[in-house]
């Protein structure tokens, strides 16, 4: 099922693009290789979306709170449409994410996905992984171990 796989891969690169921080874009990606020719289908616009949750993952949904989201869509000269939805209000980030999304789709059409992946997505994912490891290490320092004696009623 190639269609399914495509959707899965695209989901992954869109996720990596949306979660990238501004520094990743500036430092590690060859931004001069982004296409200059495109038309906006939807200029970057920021808005609020309500984040809903379920207690314990089941039960009725409740409103957790609003978060700001920026989205945009653009079309390259060959008709490829790139889109971005991301947290925050950084319209430049949204523009770059949408451009790279379009490039990735082009690469996929040309069976060139691996190279594009190495160029655009791998640096972002590596940086995000580093950030997670650092965060996990910082959190691990505050870990508290609870030791309790076995309570009477449990011992049978």
């Amino acid at each position: 099922m190639p269609v399914l796989d495509t959707a899965k891969e695209r989901r992954r690169w869109l996720s990596a693009l949306a979660k990238a921080d501004a520094a990743s874009f500036d430092e590690r990606l060859p931004l001069e290789r982004l296409p200059g020719e495109y038309v906006w289908l939807r200029r970057p616009e920021s808005g609020l979306v309500m984040v809903c949750g379920r207690t314990g993952g089941t039960g009725a949904t409740f409103n957790l709170g609003e978060m700001s989201v920026t989205r945009c869509a653009l079309r390259l000269a060959d008709g490829t449409v790139g889109m971005a939805y991301l947290r925050g209000r950084d319209s430049l980030h949204a523009q770059r994410a949408a451009l790279i999304d379009a490039l990735m789709q082009q690469a996929e059409q040309e069976d060139n996905l691996e190279q594009a992946w190495t160029t655009w997505i791998t640096p972002l994912e590596a940086r995000q992984l580093q950030r997670r490891i650092a965060l996990a290490a910082a959190a691990a320092k505050t870990r508290v171990e609870f030791f309790t004696v076995v309570r009477g009623e449990d011992a049978s």
Partner: protein
């Protein structure tokens, strides 16, 4: 080219505001065609120029709270606009629509098929966006009512004959009813439910 996504108004906020103002003016002066093309830029993906005024009006009016009904010929661009730019739900049943787009007036459903609102909430009646061949050059009708000093002649070309007789029937249910906008390739004319039309013999 991806037919589901297309360009909307060049400056969505201000263009829509200007178009909205023109539409209000059109309702305030029923039967007087007013230019709409100079109120906005964009919509370059429109398959034909004729669809642009109607599409711009739809972009100015419809949003996620207003169900939209499209006739069969309004597929393509208008459908893409409603989905992508308005975010409005599309409905199959004309009775559930706040806005109805008619691009083939000869085959349009009877006015009674649309929501006329209720006695308590006549404002909930549907608004029809009808694309006609031209806003003049057709068989003339005489319009009277609010917004018209004495009487005015209106002669859109491309409306079915039974349109006017249906409006006469609808007037009996006033204040319930539907409001109409008529579009040709560059203009709009308003036809609110308060306007009475008499077909000239």
């Amino acid at each position: 080219m991806n037919a589901l996504l297309c360009r909307g108004l060049a400056d969505p906020v201000h263009d829509a505001g200007r178009v909205f103002r023109r539409l209000l003016d059109a309702l305030a002066r029923p039967g007087r065609p007013a230019s709409l093309l100079d109120a906005f830029a964009g919509l370059e993906d429109a398959p034909s120029g004729a669809a642009r005024p109607l599409a711009a009006a739809l972009l100015a009016l419809a949003d996620f709270e207003t169900p939209v009904w499209l006739d069969h010929d309004a597929e393509g661009l208008v459908r893409a606009l409603v989905n992508f730019h308005c975010g409005a739900p599309l409905v199959d049943d004309p009775r559930r629509a706040r806005f109805a787009v008619v691009t083939e007036p000869d085959r349009m459903p009877p006015l009674a098929a649309f929501d006329w609102g209720s006695g308590e909430y006549p404002d909930r009646g549907a608004t029809l966006l009808i694309s006609v061949a031209s806003l003049d050059g057709g068989s003339p009708v005489t319009l009277t009512g609010p917004g018209i000093a004495t009487a005015t002649t209106f002669a859109p070309r491309g409306l079915p004959d039974h349109f006017w007789s249906q409006r006469t029937i609808m007037a009996k249910d006033f204040p319930c009813g539907v409001d109409c906008f008529l579009f040709d390739d560059h203009r709009v004319a308003g036809l609110p439910r308060t306007t009475q039309a008499r077909e000239d013999q």
